[in-house]
Symmetry: C2
Subunit: 311 residues, 2 copies
Amino acid sequence: MSEPLLLWNPTPTRQAILDFMTATTSPGSPDFVPLSERIATFDNDGTLWLEKPLYIQLQHGLRAIGKAAAEMPEVRDRQPFKAVYEKDMTWLGKVVADYAKGDPSGVFTLVMGLAEIFEGITVEAFEADALEFLSNAEDSRFKVPYKQLIYQPMVELVHYLQENSFQVYLTSGGGRDFMRAVCEQIYSIPRSMAIGSSVTFQYGENAQGVAQVLRTKEIEQPIDDGPGKPPHIHRAIGRRPVMAAGNSNGDIHMLKYATGHKGLSLALLVYHDDAAREYAYDAGSEKALQLAPQAGWVVVSMKDDWKTIFA
Amino acid sequence: MSEPLLLWNPTPTRQAILDFMTATTSPGSPDFVPLSERIATFDNDGTLWLEKPLYIQLQHGLRAIGKAAAEMPEVRDRQPFKAVYEKDMTWLGKVVADYAKGDPSGVFTLVMGLAEIFEGITVEAFEADALEFLSNAEDSRFKVPYKQLIYQPMVELVHYLQENSFQVYLTSGGGRDFMRAVCEQIYSIPRSMAIGSSVTFQYGENAQGVAQVLRTKEIEQPIDDGPGKPPHIHRAIGRRPVMAAGNSNGDIHMLKYATGHKGLSLALLVYHDDAAREYAYDAGSEKALQLAPQAGWVVVSMKDDWKTIFA
């Protein structure tokens, strides 16, 4: 096996990860974790890929909402269609600002608009639309398709865990099926190991009588964020993770769940402190950052711990 | 690899399975299925293990309900506690008879009683109770613990698929977490690959501040039966199965979903026609048996196709 974590600087953070791996996978180690229990869970937005200036999935939503509003005049008198159609940056800016302050109501309005647009289509058609968007639409600052805006040191960590027989799951607060469009390609995480928020589904048959799974516009509860993450993890995996990585207040419960493992565990908290190479912010992560020292979570400084970010 | 499916008689059924495997896994075959798409889904009750005279999980429920009614006089004035406490075989017999006729209301009453008893406990504590029951409580006819009442030819088929790189999932109409107590031990199916019905969960912390996933008494909708099966399969796997096995009307939609795969697919319908070695019945499976010939589903005769059933 080649030298691990080459994209990480030789800091105590990198050492903590290496020490965890040695302790949990070396035969005879008092902290050895059997293969079946080697479960790691990774948040997505802000942990594995860019989440600023807006969640990537919301960019996808804005495009779909814009298209719908252009084609259907009858939706333009209500939000979120009205604001997107009128390019009302005040309304959209308030959504983002409110969310950073802990009020998700505007984001929910966008998410419900998105769910409404894709109501009744097959899961395959939704995924094709997401894949097309992620492969072609470009971020306005970095000028590359969204699917390229992944944190390479974190992807390297995912692979390092996989090489050591960890089963690595994605636990996105955002849409599971949105990430399934690319998670195998960009992270090498199988689609069956993508956990996340979702609409609910209905069984249907097409004109040829072929069975289909169709999206509804109802958001499944709870969403895979905050206290909803451990229940989602239990439902999908059935085991408590030994390792988890997140970046925001929405990951606190998942990190606590992993560190509640009876043996040695590792919790990472990615800290966005690199305005030059990415962004510097702690809005939405204040509580997590405050809890980290006492909880023993390892804070990953993008600025100090990573040699590179996107490439 | 040893000769496959030795517990199956040399019938056209066995040959259909062998032909499917050859066609989907031989390099160069026009029906070759890439590794990532080799997904198989197996119903549990009546397909992999005994479901008569009552679903095994309902036997677990009856025991728990009986214990609760013995300890808590205040629940004895309502169903299902009243009937179980009073050993009211008329009420219990009607539940079973109604269910076979397509009326699940009595079974739902039992399931809700079961969910109520386990409300608030950790997922680990529930699993420990299920494991104890399945390992020790005995079936009244076969006089062995319930976990031994698995159909060996079907388990052999699960292993045969796994040896050929199929990912085999359990898709139980009954409780997912009930099956997770034993699915690795009795089927070699990892717990993360157990799909099924469930209560919903809540995040909690114990007295020591350790994060927990706790059961609620609310049944998650839809349950993993009938038209609910394809949505559950999509949620957990994200791919359409290429092979599926069931035994009842509740499996029709799953079998249709698998045979809707664009390439070659295989759907098996286990037919309970062996009163001497197991049971003979078609109540609850009439529609599936009627659909099978036109749909191209392979009907598995327990009597003719299997050399043995339980051992």
